[in-house]
């Protein structure tokens, strides 16, 4: 039985074109981009070209792209880099309750180090209200960091509005766009952001590489001291093969964005419709329309998500869950909790994240499998009501 991968929110399979683009930078062009000789300059050329390709994907200038080790480092660099530079002019940061741990735990770290953090709430579909952000701004506010699209439920935030009001109040704006880049149009000017985090492995690129867009004129302190790489914002010899892979993935994502998005929207809507129609007491988590094209997030009463996930795995289907039982911390999803979903229902949630290779036949198979599995688990569950 061939496997059906529907966990693209976790990671994606590197595109063969990405792997092909990377290989020469392991096998042949191994130079250090800082070396002045021709072998080093081959790497420098690749680095510059890659910077342009990544900039193009988000409507930025190449000198505004800082390569990092991935989305988590990009988020850390944005938050800590601004905090440490601006600590004398203000110590207040605004974020949301449903951010990725890369932002939430960085905020927690800054809080432990004397910063004040405001966590704005979300409504029951996962949307931040820009008015809440505006109301939270004080004279001490130095930065707002709100994710573009949520990694669990796929809700797309009104970043344009928040970015605009941040700038009206003279506050810097960062967005974690790790999940949205390559799936919906992302343009740093349209979004009105000063910083934006990107990860390669979420867009069919390699793991261990990402980027932070930093608007020209925005200063931040490097987290890593060293040889002055990446315009002094991130020291360390550049991961050229990884960066070339990210750039190729960015180029392909830009080319395929329209086709991929419309295909995934139709798969997504079909999966949601069929699941809700064929499984009683099943619900959609997140926003019905302001939603990533590839995100299907469902919950089923009376069953537990890890069991669902494992039974789907036995049928060759890979998905993920917000259940505490499958997380390292044993804490149920903070995102689903923020929507006001009761804990026993959070445990019964399932995230299906589609990719460009998934098909309608696969969607149908997954829904049919879900119908069978939910029924089996409900028959076994002591909390299923007797009819």
């Amino acid at each position: 039985m061939s496997k059906i991968y529907m966990d693209h929110g976790a990671t994606t399979k590197p595109d063969p074109e990405v792997v092909r683009a990377m290989l020469p930078y392991y096998e042949e062009y191994f130079g250090n981009a800082s070396s002045l000789h021709s072998i080093g300059q081959e790497a420098a050329v690749a680095l510059n070209r890659s910077r342009q390709q990544v900039a193009d994907l988000v409507g930025a200038q190449p000198e505004e792209i800082i390569f990092t080790s991935g989305g988590t480092e990009s988020d850390n660099l944005a938050l800590k880099g601004i905090a440490s530079l601006k600590k004398n002019s203000g110590k207040h940061i605004i974020t949301s309750v449903i951010e990725h741990p890369a932002v939430l735990n960085t905020c927690k770290y800054l809080q432990d180090n004397g910063f004040k953090i405001t966590y704005v709430p979300v409504d029951d579909q996962g949307l931040v209200n820009p008015v809440d952000v505006e109301d939270a701004i004080t004279e001490d506010t130095i930065l707002i960091s709100i994710m573009h699209a949520n990694n669990e439920i796929g809700t797309i935030q009104p970043i344009e509005e928040i970015g605009t009001l941040a700038h009206e109040r003279g506050v810097l704006m960062h967005t974690d766009a790790v999940q949205s880049v390559g799936k919906i149009p992302v343009n740093v000017d349209d979004l009105s952001v000063d910083m934006l985090s990107i990860s390669a492995h979420k867009i069919h690129g390699p793991k261990g590489v990402g980027a932070l867009y930093v608007r020209k004129g925005t200063r931040l302190e490097s987290l890593v001291q060293g040889g002055g790489h990446e315009m002094g914002k991130r020291a360390g010899t550049e991961n050229i093969p990884g960066i070339v892979g990210l750039a190729k993935a960015a180029e392909l994502a830009a080319q395929r964005l329209d086709d991929d998005a419309s295909k995934m929207c139709s798969l997504r809507d079909s999966a949601i419709k069929k699941a809700l129609e064929s499984i009683p007491e099943s619900y959609l988590n997140g926003h019905p329309t302001r939603r990533l094209p590839n995100n299907v997030h469902l919950r089923f009463s009376y069953v537990e998500g890890e069991s669902l996930l494992m039974m789907l795995d036995m049928k060759g289907v890979a998905v993920s869950t917000g259940s505490a039982c499958s997380s390292k911390s044993l804490e149920p999803s903070h995102v689903l909790a923020a929507l006001g979903i009761p804990p026993e229902q959070i445990h019964g949630s399932l995230r299906i994240t589609l990719g460009r290779e998934n098909t309608m036949d696969e969607v149908d198979y997954v829904v049919e499998s879900l119908v069978e599995i939910v029924e089996k688990l409900r028959a076994m569950s002591p909390i299923t009501p007797k009819h």
Binding site: E304, S307, M310, A324, C325, K328, E344, I383
Partner: protein
């Protein structure tokens, strides 16, 4: 992360269901925490003649429930009370460390069912 034995019990759980005229019923865990199980026992002449379960929970919760029914069936009350959480985990060739506390409730469920049986019989 799970042993073959856990996966085997998870995919083909033994003795799922309720016993209509059970002599003892034990309910442990809480759906809010993600694991809850009910164990039903039938007792005849001091022996557990039937043991069944219903469980809401993860793979480990279902596998341990299934395993306890196998371990307990045919045992005397005294023997069944000796079955520990560790015995259940060992019979399944171990559980991931993180699951040892939260999902390994089956022994507690069995003991609760026996206690229920003993309380009912005391009052008779």
């Amino acid at each position: 992360m799970y042993s073959k034995k856990v996966m085997e019990h998870f995919s083909n759980p033994r003795n799922v269901g309720e016993i209509e005229d059970a002599d003892g019923v034990g309910e442990v865990g809480n759906p809010v925490c993600g694991d809850m199980m009910t164990i039903y026992i039938k007792v005849d002449d001091g022996k557990l003649t039937d043991v069944k379960f219903k469980t809401f929970g993860c793979g480990a919760a279902i596998a341990t429930s299934s395993m306890i029914t196998e371990l307990a069936k045919g045992k005397t009350i005294e023997e069944a009370l000796e079955i520990s959480r560790d015995d259940v985990a060992d019979s399944l060739d171990g559980l991931p460390p993180i699951k040892m506390h939260c999902s390994n409730l089956a022994a507690d469920g069995l003991h609760a069912a026996i206690e229920d049986y003993q309380n009912k019989n005391k009052s008779k």
